[in-house]
């Protein structure tokens, strides 16, 4: 029986370079008004996704597919991510098959 492993991915979705980001510009204006020498702000989204995959390769493949199919629109966005094994004990208890 395959051992199910829990993973947590932090997926960052940002507008493609060159696409105007008025929200980022507004945030930058706010920081400058507070006195910071801010040249540029680009804003984006962070999604923390907990999921199951047999191993790292499978997890990476799933993430790439999630980004392509739903999380980012390639016309305007780029997705990057960091993948780590789920550190929470609750997650291990939920699955019940993680060897210790």
């Amino acid at each position: 029986m395959a051992v199910t492993t829990r993973w947590v991915a932090e997926v960052r979705v940002e507008l493609r370079p060159g696409i105007a980001d008025p929200e980022g510009q507004t945030i930058g204006a706010g920081l400058r008004s507070l006195g910071y020498a801010v040249d540029d702000v680009r804003h984006g989204k962070l999604m923390r996704i907990a999921f199951a995959a047999d191993d790292r390769d499978a997890a990476e493949a799933q993430l790439a597919e999630m980004c392509r199919r739903l999380l980012a629109n390639p016309v305007m966005e780029v997705a990057t991510w960091e993948l780590t094994p789920d550190p929470s004990a609750e997650a291990a208890a939920d699955v019940g098959v993680v060897p210790r």
């Binding site: 507008l15 696409i19 105007a20 008025p22 929200e23 507004t26 739903l70 999380l71 629109n73 016309v75 305007m76």
Partner: protein, 248 residues
């Protein structure tokens, strides 16, 4: 030309959060006397229909991106099939966003450049109406019309090659203009590339536009230019022998 035997039949798709479906149904059903059907997004059948409307609103709360979740609603497979068979489809406002997310039209719609929600009357210049004959066939090239806009995320973008291809093939059919019909930065309500307010697919049957034709179909609400899109559709349907004959 064969006359359309019956009244036009239009299916209006309703996603959770759609808000313009009853305005479309009012114009099609009450003002024009067409057969109208509201189709819930979870349904898997459009029914017998001559045209499909994806109305404005906030489908699935616009979560993640506008139109991103709606694209996966079960009914969208049928909408794609209807369009692939040449059936006329219009996506207004949120419906336009759904069409781009579904890949049925190129480009994407982003937050307005000034970050404000904009609800106003807007002049639009019609270009290449015969590229979208089913929806704009009654309008003349260069015509100036006036329709309401009502959106926070209407900034149309695409890469320069796609924009050039759209323009080169006459598929940019509506642009934001001023009262004189000039396409200027000041007349652009959301920062759309090249003032683009509406585009059509290569086949010419799928129109996406940010403005709301259904909100300008009676004198009492301030204008009737939107009715010209509905009239265009009726005339186009009458000219389609296949559609006309199956109604006899």
């Amino acid at each position: 030309m064969t006359a359309l035997a019956g009244r036009p039949r239009v299916s209006i798709v309703v996603f959770p959060g759609t808000w313009s479906e009853r305005d479309f149904a009012h114009v099609a059903g009450e003002v024009l006397g067409w057969e109208t059907r509201l189709v819930w997004h979870a349904e898997e059948d459009l029914g017998e229909t001559d045209a499909v409307v994806l109305p404005g609103g906030f489908a699935h709360g616009d979560h993640l991106r506008t139109g991103a979740i709606a694209r996966f609603s079960p009914i969208m497979r049928k909408v794609e099939g209807f369009a692939a068979a040449g059936g006329p489809v219009i996506g207004s406002c949120n419906g336009f966003q759904v069409l781009t997310e579904a890949g049925m039209l190129p480009g994407a719609l982003l937050r307005n450049d000034h970050l404000e929600f904009r609800c106003d009357w807007q002049h639009l210049r019609v270009e290449h109406p015969h590229s979208a004959a089913a929806w704009l066939g009654d309008l003349e090239d260069g015509a100036l019309i006036r329709l309401p806009i009502s959106h926070g995320e209407g900034r149309f973008i695409a890469d320069p090659a796609t924009l050039d291809e759209l323009e080169g093939s006459g598929r940019v059919v509506l642009r934001y203009a001023d009262e004189a019909g000039e396409v200027t930065a000041d007349a652009n309500p959301n920062g759309s590339e090249r003032g683009i307010a509406g585009i059509v697919n290569a086949r010419g049957n799928v129109l996406g536009l940010m403005p709301h034709p259904e909100r300008a179909a009676e004198v009492e609400v301030g204008g009737t230019d939107g009715l010209r899109l509905f009239r265009s559709l009726e005339r186009w349907l009458q000219a389609q022998p296949a559609i006309a004959e199956r109604r006899l």
